[in-house]
């Protein structure tokens, strides 16, 4: 029983990958706090990705995406205990 809400992760991941390259700052040469502005974008973006990945893991969408449905759907990370974990 795939939760429809899980599908939102597909565009989220697509956006995370697409804008990991700071396209909006193409050609911008402003230096902010000692580094070019686009380097700050990069730093912020990867931190954002890390946070988003964590949310993804916590949402339980990880297991459901693999077809490992757990009773009750959003069982969080415990869902893995059902099928994914070996021991």
């Amino acid at each position: 029983m795939r939760v429809r809400r899980d599908l939102v992760w597909i565009p989220v991941f697509a956006a995370l990958v697409a804008f990991a390259v700071p396209w909006p700052l193409w050609g911008v040469d402003r230096v902010v706090a000692g580094l070019p502005a686009w380097i700050w974008w990069h730093v912020g973006w990867l931190v954002l990705c890390s946070a988003a990945f964590r949310l993804f893991v916590r949402s339980g969408a990880w297991e459901r995406g693999m077809g490992l449905d757990s009773p009750g759907g959003a069982g969080g990370t415990d869902a893995s205990a059902g099928r994914g974990d070996r021991r």
Binding site: A20, V21, W26, V31, L46
Partner: protein, 500 residues
Amino acid sequence: MTAPIGLGLGVVVGYLLVALTIGLVAYRLTETTAEDYYLANRSIGTVVLLFTTFATLLSAFTFFGGPNLAYAAGPEWLIVMGTLDGVLFAVLWYVVGYKQWLIGDRHGYVTLGEMLGDRFGSPGLRALVAGVSLLWLFPYVMLQQMGAGEALVGLTGGAVPYWGGAALITAFMIAYVTLAGLRGVAWTDTIQGLFMLSVVWVAAAWVVSAVGGVGAATGSMVAARPEFASFGGGVYTPGFIVSTAITIAFGVTMFPQINQRFFVAESGMVFKRSFALWPVLVLLLFVPAFLLGAWAVGMPVDVPEGANVLPVVLNAYTPTWFAALVIAGAMAAMMSSSDSMLLSGSSYFTRDLYRPFVAPDASERREAWVARTGVVAFATLAFLASLLRPGTLIQVGDTAFSGFALLSLPTLCALYWDRTTRDGMAVGIAVPQAIYLLVVLSSVLPVVPTLPRTISVAGSGGWDVALGLMVLSAVLTVGVSLLTAPTAESDASRFAVAGD
């Protein structure tokens, strides 16, 4: 000058000895089964999985190639590597890696070829995957040897010749892999990963304080090369950025030593934690390493033609013992990649080629002997080829990655689409590989006219031909699968993860 050179070499050799000791301890704990030797009995936890993947992924390509490219063309390499390693690879880690772990865990697979061969009931497909993987592993092992050779030349000011450094790392790799299995590799990787991270930050802090701060370093960089401040331009066309990021990230997932990491996790939780921590880890290493390379253009240092920029900067701004320590860190990065590569290569060779086709009833002892002989032969041949220096680190690395990337879409099809057939897989893998090999060979063999490696599209720069071949591999896999019927031996339920 002799004393500092001796000191530098001493640090590097001392470091190698420490790593070897860890390998020996792991060796004593390793059982004689293939699953333990190659996969540490699927018992790897979060920290070790994270760092073993990290240290395995980061090699001479990252450590010297990256700063060199940032020095020559600007710091945008940070974005290319950050995007592909930090974000795209992490997503693939979930999409490919986790599913592969679930399947491997159920059926006890050790290699990618074994997994696909079993799913389609085809030893031929298994051999094809192993053969293609070994083919592209070769230039990548060579890359590590080239990196090590250059590293020691830089560290000792030429007192140790290029071949000496390459030979040292070859000997070390052979000793290490024939002794310790994956457990030893994973343990040293963890130490090497932590070590690399620490030294690169200390190095950056040292150099930055010597030149008067981050602002001053960037200021001199921009004064020397104004275009380095702005994003894009020069070699960094959209075509280059997108092609490189995609081919490398997809290539990495099919890289034998990375792909096998997908089988080793102790639990699903290990995957989840590693996945979320990954982008930050990537950021922590790449930012200081690549910025040091880019900042060097504004420093009064003289980087000789063909030399690596990082050792030159360190020699100028830090004491010899510290520069040696960083080079040892870089050597560590190379070793932790190449020992894993040789280990994976040997498992592909023995399990997917030797046992099924040469000696189905070989004893475990004989198989172990063949695996070790294979490692020695492979490493020695790669060493000899590395002496020819057939391109820069970035070129050699990129060639290998694209070759692996061509395996990724057929594998994804097999993982997620039950209707995939054996013939679809075979054609989807073999045809793009053959074309790509022709393109690569045409640039080195004088008999055939050189085929273009990149295709330019108006205004967006050159796009890697491998990107088009990736699309072709997907089209062929899907198309041929639709036209052919699944063979009687294939069994899609082998890749099912839910239910029993």
